[in-house]
């Protein structure tokens, strides 16, 4: 116990650095995947057959393969097969590659939720907008969107909480997120070796983080409670 207290300041400092990386990846994925998911959803619902088939094929591939493999391919493929390492070697390139893999992967999952949400809105809502002389985009943004959001908040909450924990996968291309930071004390780092508690302690960060995310999403759900 004394030893843990003594190691605590060093470990927390390192875990904080790792957690910041986790947080950055989470935020980047959110910012990228929320809108990209919508684009993909519209692609898969397109009446232009080749586009919708292509989109659905891509979604199938992305959802049907492990994110870990996608990370490896996105980071190593350019240098290995195309003989042109576009990412560089440092942390920035690894983060960018991770972010792109995560954004694309999560956008595909989101797109299916969006699609389900959009298709669950009764056709009458759109027709009511049409007979009132509204444009397509007015109908989408003023009528459909909020109803879609209300319906997709619960399934999206699931995905978002999964995302919090999935960020740990980026360690496969050596992105030094919080699990990496926790594990480094096992092998030896910052003068501490063979300490396993920092790895377990990362769970506290995840719990706190998912706690905050759950609270925020719960409030959003509540704020949309005013209509049915």
């Amino acid at each position: 116990m004394d030893l843990i207290l003594q190691q605590m300041p060093t470990v927390l400092k390192a875990l904080n650095v790792g957690f910041l990386q986790t947080l950055k990846l989470f935020v980047a994925t959110g910012l990228g995947a929320f809108p990209l998911g919508l684009v993909i959803a519209f692609g898969s619902m397109s009446r232009f057959k080749p586009l919708s088939l292509l989109t659905r094929f891509v979604v199938w591939v992305v959802r049907g393969t492990p994110l870990m493999i996608q990370l490896l391919i996105i980071y190593y493929f350019p240098g290995m097969v195309l003989k042109n390492n576009i990412w560089g070697s440092g942390e920035a390139g690894r983060f960018l590659a991770s972010a792109i893999a995560f954004i694309f992967n999560y956008a595909c999952y989101f797109s299916e939720i969006y699609r389900g949400g959009i298709q669950s809105i009764p056709r009458g809502q759109q027709e009511a907008g049409m007979v009132l002389g509204m444009t397509r985009s007015q109908i989408f943004f003023r009528v459909t969107l909020l109803q879609v959001i209300k319906r997709i908040v619960p399934p999206m909450s699931n995905e978002i909480i999964t995302l919090v924990k999935d960020t740990a996968l980026a360690r496969i291309i050596a992105l030094q997120e919080i699990i990496w930071a926790g594990q480094s004390f096992l092998k030896g780092s910052h003068g501490i070796a063979g300490a396993i508690w920092p790895l377990f302690f990362t769970a506290v960060y995840y719990l706190a983080f998912t706690g905050v995310v759950t609270l925020v999403l719960g409030r959003l759900e509540k704020r949309l409670d005013y209509f049915r």
Binding site: G124, Q125, A128, M130, V131, L132, Q138, R142, F227, R228
Partner: protein, 261 residues
């Protein structure tokens, strides 16, 4: 001149021909009721008038202006159709109010969006919106909903929701107001409050096309009745004639099915 002139409308879904040449016309202030069993094509006719379906043949003219002619592609441009729809209002069987807006917002939303297309929108925004709000409040009051303006649809009864929907359609001042079985989703007592409102509108010379199963109401409120069956108009004329003394066997059989309990 007729306010509405519908000529020889045809419409098929796949191989099923739902409308086989429908023609009728309407003078300003007239009320036409369209009756017929389900599957007779009356709802499709209404949807064609509102451009929710595109007819395969025929033409539609309002105030002498041809809005749609199947033979003239120039009348079918997607971009113009939105504006053309504004000649008509449509009240749906299932209300289709926007659930996230209050009764008042449901009535004002489209008007405020259309106001953006006014040339002097930016300078007159406040004035325009105040006018739209004022008119909407007056309409809701006319519908007997003065104390319900700030309620959301789910807080209203079916009859109240349908009256909000009528106010919403009226707010854009359509030339012709269409009703698609407006009381079919309502309990009998709620049906009466909606019919009372429609009757008021008829008294005020509102031009209306009403698809309905309420025979007594149709007889009472209409200047004209169309009986449709199998995609054609079987019989048309004043209500006393079509409902009171039908000349066609098919009309008689249809009406008998209503008098039987």
């Amino acid at each position: 001149m007729a306010i509405l002139d519908v000529k020889n409308i045809h419409k098929s879904f796949g191989r099923t021909e739902v409308l086989k040449g429908i023609s009728f016309s309407l003078e300003k202030g007239q009320v036409v009721s369209v009756i017929g069993s389900s599957g007779s094509g009356k709802t499709t006719l209404l949807r064609c008038l509102n451009f929710l379906e595109t007819p395969d043949g025929g033409s539609i003219a309002v105030n002498g202006e041809t809005l749609f002619d199947a033979a003239e592609p120039a009348t079918q441009r997607e971009a113009d159709i939105r504006r053309k729809r504004l000649h008509f209002g449509l009240v749906f069987q299932s209300f289709n109010l926007f659930p996230q807006y209050t009764a008042l917002e449901n009535v004002t939303l489209a008007g405020k969006l259309l106001a953006k297309e006014e040339p002097d929108y930016k300078t007159r925004k406040k004035e325009l919106f105040a006018q739209i709000d004022g008119e909407a409040r007056a309409l809701l009051a006319q519908m007997g909903l003065s104390d319900r303006m700030d309620n959301y649809p789910h807080q209203l009864s079916g009859g109240q929701q349908q009256r909000v929907a009528i106010a919403r359609a009226l707010a854009l001042r359509p030339d012709i107001l269409c009703f698609d079985e407006p009381t079919s989703a309502l309990d009998p007592e709620l049906t009466q409050e909606v019919l009372r409102v429609i009757r008021q509108l008829a008294d005020r010379q509102t031009t209306m096309v009403i698809v309905t199963h309420e025979m007594a109401f149709a007889r009472d409120v209409s200047t004209h009745v169309l009986f449709m069956d199998g995609g054609v108009v079987v019989e048309s004329g004043p209500p006393e004639q079509v409902i009171g003394a039908p000349s066609q066997e098919r009309t008689r059989r249809f009406l008998e099915s209503f008098t039987r309990p």
